[in-house]
């Protein structure tokens, strides 16, 4: 019964580890639950669940397992048995025992995959992803004349499939992009300099000055070391970027929360950068900023990160009047704008949410890679991109 709770929680995606489980076992072995279901519930919850986000899942699993159970006596006997020799737990089959022994990532992954593949068959996934896409301010129809659009919805579904598959792979190799991990990767985005008011006590200089003063103490202060990195983020929104709504928004959250950067600005574009960039993700024309102004506002020391899938119709990048939005015709080619960005700023990287294997499938992606170094939107990818941004001058 107890192990059902453990596996039930894990199946529902509640991150319960051995350490939490053993904490609960310690509490129960001391009789802290006092043979009461209510108290057992409170204690199990406090030990096993570490975020209110999982309370609902916990309640469901708990209700499912302990519904109608008179906890009074059985629990203690069963528990004592379990503690005396866990391997002899009466409800455990040989298979379960073996599973408990090697409760590793692969196994969990397999369970997870199974769950997900079931969902695929019922087409839940598709609906959800379309729903996710719907959160973006971009619809399909109005903005994209069908003739120009590459692939259209079909491409998106394909991307979606890849994305789902990749999600599992990320668990084992490149790990998921949670906000905390992104922040850790971003930590290296710093170049420490001493500027501003002198507030930090400088012991070495004080000793030097004191010696020079023949023993009269002379206190020396210096400015604190502060991060001097200013980051400009240019972000592709809408269309083929819709499936990446979640990881991209997590990246944005991490950057906004990061108080370590000296300055941080974000602008938005659709597919490729032309003479206007949006100050909001809606890309309203009234709120747009001429791309040329970026060059006047931000000097070459700003680090630039462009986030986008770099996949578009070749004309959008390489021909005049390539803008996918016919109302925003442009006489300068997208690729020229990109080159100007590269010329103006010392450090520019392109972060691509598509997997590396797909990069070569797109002609525009290949062209863009000749201009900017490209990294994948993953924990290691971001860490490498950060490395390229703060590296010594080319």
């Amino acid at each position: 019964m107890f192990l059902n709770l453990f596996f039930g929680l894990r199946e529902q995606g509640v991150p319960v580890g051995m350490q939490e489980w053993m904490t609960l076992m310690t509490a129960l072995s001391r009789g802290l639950h006092g043979s009461e279901l209510d108290r057992f519930y409170n204690i199990a919850k406090a030990c096993l669940v570490k975020s209110e986000a999982y309370f609902d899942a916990f309640d469901r699993v708990f209700a499912h397992i302990f519904k109608g159970v008179e906890l009074d006596l059985d629990i203690e006997e069963e528990l004592l048995n379990w503690l005396a020799d866990p391997k002899q737990f009466p409800e455990l089959s040989d298979e379960q025992k073996a599973m408990l022994e090697r409760l590793d990532a692969d196994e969990l992954m397999r369970r997870f995959l199974e769950t997900m593949s079931e969902q695929d068959e019922r087409h839940d996934g598709g609906g959800r992803w379309v729903g996710t896409g719907g959160r973006s301010p971009y619809g399909h129809g109005g903005y994209h004349p069908t003739g120009i659009r590459v692939g259209g919805p079909g491409r998106r579904r394909m991307a979606m499939k890849v994305w789902e598959e990749r999600e599992f792979r990320d668990y084992s190799t490149d790990s998921t992009l949670d906000v905390r991990q992104i922040k850790s990767a971003l930590r290296r985005l710093r170049q420490l300099t001493r500027q501003g008011p002198s507030t930090e006590f400088d012991l070495d200089a004080t000793i030097d000055e004191t010696c020079r003063n023949a023993g009269e103490i002379d206190l020396v202060f210096r400015p604190e070391r502060r991060n001097n990195v200013r980051l400009l983020l240019l972000m592709d929104v809408g269309g083929t970027m819709d499936p990446y709504y979640e990881p991209v928004s997590r990246l944005l959250t991490a950057l906004h929360e990061d108080r370590g950067l000296r300055d941080f600005k974000a602008y938005y574009f659709h597919n490729c950068i032309y003479e206007l960039v949006g100050t909001t993700a809606n890309l309203y024309r009234a709120e747009a900023l001429p791309t040329g102004d970026l060059f006047r506002r931000y000097d070459e020391r700003w680090k630039v990160a462009i986030v986008g899938d770099a996949a578009m119709h070749p004309a959008e990048l390489l021909s005049e009047r390539g803008n996918i939005n016919p109302r925003r015709e442009t006489s300068t080619r997208g690729v020229d704008w990109l080159r100007r960005i590269d010329e103006h700023f010392e450090r520019v990287v392109w972060i691509n949410p598509d997997p590396e294997a797909e990069w070569d499938n797109s002609q525009t992606c290949q062209v863009i890679r000749t201009i900017f170094p490209m990294f994948r939107l993953s924990v290691t990818g971001i860490a490498n991109a950060v490395g390229a941004l703060v590296a010594a001058k080319r």
């Binding site: 350490q19 904490t23 409170n42 103490i217």
Partner: protein, 297 residues
């Protein structure tokens, strides 16, 4: 579903105090943390009494409390000790104090003081999420082993009595997994009406019950308004009632409109939202039934 007698009587060390009404789940979580000697991590909406809990646990246990209020600049080292170099240099210059003994210039922080205390203390680490990303990890070892070394003297400070550690978080940042694994966790839910009445009674014992009902109807109605940027919390409710009592506002007046709205809504847009609501002819409800099925008494 009140707190019940456990098989192990030592478990029931905390049962709330006359000034702090705690839910059974919170009481169990506190007692669990004490029994297992694990830090207790408390999350919840602002104004649900997270910080107050530590003070009342200390009162109930008869222990002294030490607070460590975390700011964005807080460093883990400050909680242990600080070596006051400037003081020592100054003393050397003017010949004050015992400069030869570095121990005089080791200033202990909250953790250091709690470890050295002659009896058990309650340590509150308030708003741990305000600090740097790595902060929780930096105090992990000290909280786990309850000891640290003062590098300047080479002395080890070990806790004489394992303190009861209560950590609060406002969810501004995600906390690291290794940190979470070691904690007992409790999320303070916003009090339901019945519990809220008991909480108010602690602060305003002589409040007329018909007036209290009106006050709570308006209060919970405001909280239900999803447009609000900042929902009023328990502490604001208590302040608001104090203001109403002092001004001698009657039940009829509260029934008709919401006086002293400034003590409930702290945001300009929220106040405007309410003004527009009344301009459109809207009227806040005056019966529990109007608040919807969740509030049917």
């Amino acid at each position: 579903m009140g707190p019940t007698m456990a098989a192990n009587p030592a478990f029931n060390q905390f049962a709330g105090t006359s000034e702090y009404i705690a839910s059974p789940a919170l009481i169990d979580a506190v007692n669990l943390a004490i029994a297992l000697e694990r830090p207790l991590l408390i999350k919840g909406e602002p104004g649900t009494g997270k910080t107050l809990l530590a003070r009342n646990v200390a009162r109930a246990l008869g222990n002294e409390m030490e607070s460590w209020h975390i700011k964005s600049t807080s460093k883990a080292q400050e909680g242990l000790y600080v070596y006051d170099t400037v003081q020592r240099l100054n003393d050397a210059r003017f010949g004050d104090g015992d400069v030869a003994d570095v121990r005089h210039y080791i200033k202990y922080g909250p953790l250091g003081r709690v470890f050295q205390a002659d009896e058990r203390r309650v340590l509150l680490i308030d708003e741990v999420d305000k600090a740097d990303l790595e902060f929780p990890n930096d105090i992990l070892r000290e909280l786990d082993e309850m000891r640290f070394t003062v590098y300047e003297t080479g002395e080890e400070v070990a806790a004489r009595h394992r303190p009861v550690v209560i950590i609060t978080s406002n969810n501004e940042k995600e906390l690291p997994d290794p940190f979470l694994r070691r904690c007992v966790f409790h999320f303070i839910k916003f009090p339901a009406v019945a519990q809220m009445k008991r909480i108010v009674a602690v602060h305003h014992p002589h409040l007329e019950s018909a007036l209290l009902d009106q006050v709570l109807i308006k209060f919970y109605w405001l909280r239900e308004q999803s447009e609000l940027r900042k929902k009023p919390s328990t502490s604001e409710l208590v302040d608001w009632i104090a203001a109403l009592l002092r001004a001698g506002v009657t039940r009829e007046q509260v029934e008709a409109h919401i006086p002293f709205i400034g003590s409930l809504l702290k945001n300009e847009q929220d106040t405007e939202m309410l003004e527009q609501f009344s301009e459109r002819g809207g009227n806040p409800p005056s019966k529990w039934a109007d608040l919807g099925p969740r509030y049917n008494q």
